[in-house]
Amino acid sequence: MQQVANGVFLGSIYALFAMGYTLVFGVLDLLNLAHSAVFMLGAFIGLQLVVAAGWPLWAAVLGAIAAGGLLGVLIDRVAFAPLRRRADAHFAGLISSIALAIILGAVALGVFGPNSRRFPQGTFPGGRVEFAGASLSVLQLVILVLSVALMLGLDWLVRSSRLGRAMRAVAENPRAARLLGVDVERVTLITFALSSALGAAAGTMFALAFNLIRIEMGLAIELKGLAVIIVGGMGSLPGAMLGGLVLGLAEVFSIARIGSGWRDAVAFGLLFAILLLRPQGLLGRKAVREV
């Protein structure tokens, strides 16, 4: 039972991170490989706001999320917007977002240095909660609730709001959406901002949960996020939630079985198995794009 609780907790962070990938992919049909850099920067910014600026934790988390949104705008403007009219925009976008990820990583290395960091003691309250034979810390519980709330909020936004309708229109057919009066540029920008805000949120939560902040944390989460969206189905928000859950549980249980050295191999195993058996993912639809 404790394993299940740990798995769900871990999975909720993975899912939150992966939502950002899947939102951009689902709406804009682009894979943003700089998303992992946002995750890492989100964690560092959250830390700096607590340590250097002395903000209370809740404000620092909000600040990191806002900074993530700005990073999303930056990613769109720098790595994707210049390619908009190019025939190879998809392909070039993969490369330009990798390039931007490297730049952001290098900047973080320059500013924060190569050493791993921790939140100072007493940043967050201790205490544990027992529930049905499982035990989670108060912090973990807060993170879990917050992640789920953010995910459900995003899902509601896309499903029900006016903005969400515009997003779905762009996803269906950008040209038709433009003709119908949707400001496609604005929707694109907002999609990137939302996606990166979630990425930064996931980064700060991950940092809080494990109290460890390193430059390499982006790379480590990248593969997991990609595995989650493949497992759940590219572009499907509920799929990302389900995928995160699956990966979180699979990791926790396999660590118990085969040792922690192989922990990161679980993501690839899942990813490859899904590509072999059900490439559209658990909740994904088969691509219906036509000529």
Binding site: A99, F268, L275
Partner: protein
């Protein structure tokens, strides 16, 4: 020689990185992105190092095994994934790279995080450059061949390439396997030069290095990867000399260079070179076309007997000249709730010019895609030239003898006009790459013949004077005509034209009508989808009208023009 000795390490590393760059180049020219190059190199490096240390095998044997290990790994990884969209390859290879690193960290034979040492240093400067030259030679020979042009077409437009008969899945698999082999080669060289390997050397950064070399060098010319690897391997050396070496500076510069190149100079260094006239693109038989006039050319005017296709050995020998080329029975197509085609029954008979008209959204293009194998139908059966095409990919349908154009022009934009036409002839030409690799003159002759044939078709549509221009430079009407020429180069038995007159003025449309008539006169069956009703009525021998996915009229043009259902569909209820 003093220079060689002082900078020996850098000079050899340029070659080793160059080989890795070529391995990335192999996938980039097919329009794919792989992030597993470092992983392939790592597998080959460990395998070869262990064989050298533990089994004491001679170096050439170790090289062969290492290269094979890279190739086989790529093949096995690529088999399930290359069927899917390109983005899946990027994701799967990224994951694979991480996976290999984890395995190398956790196994005992690889020495875990400590790595493997000492590996005998056997690679000399000459061996490294021999390997580099082999890779360069491979791509130098590749470009003008049928395979090379097919890959370029696949990169430019995968759907169109498939419709021209290029087996895109196999081509991608080829490119990926070659890339695995070359990455393996670089891994073997690396391990037997640096004497020490550890998992950290083959991580994500190394995969990005490969990408960086290949992208900065550019895919426009086969010399690109060497340029890119040379420049970027030398750069840190230069930084060291200048004393600017902060830990973050190198990745920062790398990222900046990669971003700058992909955004502003997508053709890379080699593309810049071409712009400055330093490197000329190998032009397949640009000047050779007239020289080959001795080959049996059909009567002038008709330029090329298109019916020649029937005697081509590539044709399936089922039924030499069936009366019915295409038979649709009860064909249905649903797009999640929208019924695009409903119980369509239709025969296309040999020798006719069948016009297909209907209001917007009537399902015309869906029908075309069903016939050409681009869209699988949800119900009913489609038979093309006696072969049921259920589940058949578009390139196989093309091989049966079906050529097509697209409603929204899909040319291979970064290829020349002539190269576009040559790719169109994919169906009726023979592979030439392996023969060109060893300089067999017959293969170069084949390629020249193909170019000459393409030129004759281009002359026919009036585009010969633009043959060496990039297809992207053509005006709209010329683009439409090039698409028709490209389809004709495949000597199809059925030519499907999807709204060829769209955007043309009256005179152009008339000329198009004459061209269609001339093509049909040579025995090619034509399916013409058009909005220009006047054009359809004047050239077609039979007209079918589609409305809301149903056939509402079928007969000769006059009959159809008077059909009450047709009038209603086009003019509204009041017209009845």
């Amino acid at each position: 020689m003093g220079f060689l000795r002082t900078y020996n390490a850098v000079i050899v590393l340029i070659a080793i990185n160059g080989v890795l760059a070529y391995s990335m180049y192999a996938v980039l020219i097919a329009g794919q992105l792989s992030l597993a190059q470092a992983a392939f190199a790592s597998i080959a490096a460990y395998t070869s190092a262990l064989l050298t240390i533990e089994a004491g095998l001679p170096f050439p044997v170790v090289v062969v095994i290492g290269v094979s290990a890279g190739a086989v790994t790529a093949l096995v990884l690529g088999l399930p994934i290359l069927r899917l969209r390109g983005v899946f390859l990027a994701i799967a290879t990224l994951g694979f790279g991480e996976m290999v690193r984890i395995v190398a960290l956790n196994l005992e034979v690889t020495g875990g995080a400590q790595g493997l040492r000492p590996i005998p240093k056997v690679v000399t400067i000459w061996q490294a450059y021999l390997a580099l030259a082999l890779c360069a030679w491979f791509f130098w020979r590749l470009r003008p061949t049928r395979l090379g042009l097919g890959l370029a077409a696949l990169r430019a437009d995968e759907v169109a390439a498939r419709a021209m008969g290029v087996d895109t899945v196999r081509y991608k698999l080829f490119a990926f396997t070659v890339s695995g082999a070359m990455a393996g080669l670089s891994g073997v060289l690396f391990s037997h030069f640096t004497r020490f390997i550890a998992p950290g050397q083959f991580g994500f950064e190394r995969a990005v290095d490969a990408l960086l070399y290949a992208v900065v060098g550019g895919t426009a010319h086969w010399v690109g990867p060497f340029l890119g690897a040379g420049f970027l391997t030398f750069l840190p050396e230069l930084q060291r000399q200048l004393g600017i070496e902060a830990g973050w500076l190198r990745p920062f510069l790398n990222g900046l260079i990669l971003l700058g190149v992909i955004l502003f100079v997508p053709a890379g260094l080699s593309g810049l070179g071409r712009r400055l006239g330093l490197a000329r693109r190998p032009r397949p038989a640009a000047s050779a076309a007239p020289a080959r006039a001795a080959t049996p050319t059909p009567t002038p005017g008709s330029v090329e007997s298109v019916t020649e296709a029937v005697t081509q050995p590539t044709d399936p020998g089922v039924d030499r000249r069936p009366d019915t080329l295409v038979r649709l029975v009860g064909v249905e197509k649903d797009y999640g709730g929208v019924r695009a085609l409903a119980e369509v029954g239709l025969d296309i008979r040999a020798g006719e010019i069948l016009g297909l008209i209907g209001p917007n959204g009537a399902g015309k293009t869906t029908l075309v895609n069903a016939i050409t194998g681009l869209t699988p139908v949800t119900g009913g059966s489609v038979e093309v030239l006696g072969t049921p095409i259920r589940g058949l990919p578009a390139n196989r349908v093309n091989a049966l003898g079906v050529g097509r154009t697209f409603q929204q022009v899909k040319l291979f934009d970064d290829l020349t006009v002539r190269e576009n036409a040559i790719v169109g002839g994919h169906r009726v030409t023979r592979p030439t790459f392996l023969r060109r690799l060893v300089f067999l003159p017959a293969a170069a002759r084949d390629d020249r013949d193909n170019a000459a044939r393409a030129d004759r078709v281009l002359a026919r549509v009036g585009l010969l004077d633009r043959a060496d221009a990039p297809a992207s430079s053509l005006a709209y009407g010329d683009r439409r005509r090039l698409e028709i020429a490209r389809a004709l180069c495949g000597q199809p038995r059925l030519l499907v034209l999807d709204e060829p007159a769209a955007g043309m003025n009256h005179v152009e449309a008339q000329r198009l009508g004459a061209l269609v008539g001339a093509i049909a006169a040579e025995g090619v069956t034509v399916l013409l989808i058009e909005h220009n009703v006047r054009l359809v009525m004047s050239v077609c021998t039979r007209v079918v009208v589609l409305d809301f996915g149903r056939v509402i009229a079928d007969g000769d043009p006059d009959e159809v023009a008077r059909h009450p259902e047709v009038l209603r569909a086009y003019l509204g209820q009041a017209a009845t």
